[in-house]
Symmetry: C2
Amino acid sequence: MTPRNLTPSREADRLRSDRAALDQLLDEVLVGYVALSLPEGPLALPVSYARDGDRVLFHGSTGSRRMRALAEGAEVCFTVAAADGLKVGRTAFGTGMQFRSATLFGTCELIEGEEKVAALGLYTDRYLPGRMTEVRPITAREAAATMLLALPIGEWSMKVAEGFAHDDFDEVAGEVWAGVVPWFQGVGEPISNPDLPAGIEVPNSVKALYQP
Amino acid sequence: MTPRNLTPSREADRLRSDRAALDQLLDEVLVGYVALSLPEGPLALPVSYARDGDRVLFHGSTGSRRMRALAEGAEVCFTVAAADGLKVGRTAFGTGMQFRSATLFGTCELIEGEEKVAALGLYTDRYLPGRMTEVRPITAREAAATMLLALPIGEWSMKVAEGFAHDDFDEVAGEVWAGVVPWFQGVGEPISNPDLPAGIEVPNSVKALYQP
């Protein structure tokens, strides 16, 4: 954490500096947002990503102008958020969201060669743990078809809003319900590819993700 | 849609120009990302938001420098994405995400006065439909405590990745499973505030969100 993140704020009590909480959030959220300042204006791109220790990996098309800008050292902001629930207050004004969010700042490095093949495998296992033991290895030719970038986890900040809505005392004495409606990321029943030959079972990696 | 969004792309088959699909996505996703180019670099802020016809509303602290920059006409990019599922391929390389994403560009307007009170009610009903019939009206004083911005839905683009993983023919002939693991936004069992007096039931708005 650096001074950029420590600006006094009305929401200072929501700030977190716990790296374990950051890692948990990064490992849990499915989509990250890479923001960059282009000559034509700001842009936020949704990306799949994987945390690899002290860096965040994400890939894109080798033909993408934006990916090239990132590979060439453009400043980026990488943001993730989890919407954990709706804090329902006794009033509309007292209603808000339970969330965790994190913002990382820095510049990306291009990952290449042997390291790239390994990192792409880690990427696959992040979304489907154990999958790399079920499929053949990634080839050098496949690795060459995508661009892989790594953003070091260096300068970052995290905000957490938890608990319940806090209404004024005279509202609390009323007859209106207040509470939390939890939100979560659900996993549905796996669907086999229409062209899958008969007799091929759902693999362990997929079974572990989906509990009926 | 304007030329900015119609750049030829390797992923041109994923582009959508269907406004109804955009509206559905905006109405479904819980968190949006507002990107802006600040002197110190790009920034993407996660925000709750509500679509109000042809504009997207989001609010923030009146004391926030970033909200003020937006109110003063800073260019913004507003991005949302839904992760609909994991397309599991026969190979790691063939594995990817089912998603829908949209990016809106423009500048925000500050919403004030009577219009602001109405818009804040709409915002509450977006996350908890019908809630405004269960709580007292928003007061002018409450409305004054937050800053409400509207981004017109003018220049935008949308990308959709659906269906199944497409593996090469020699992979398809193999013994490896392929399919889709669906993801969805789940709603958990509501939790009453610890300070809720006995005898106050979960309201209809909350019951409608949560089906056990």
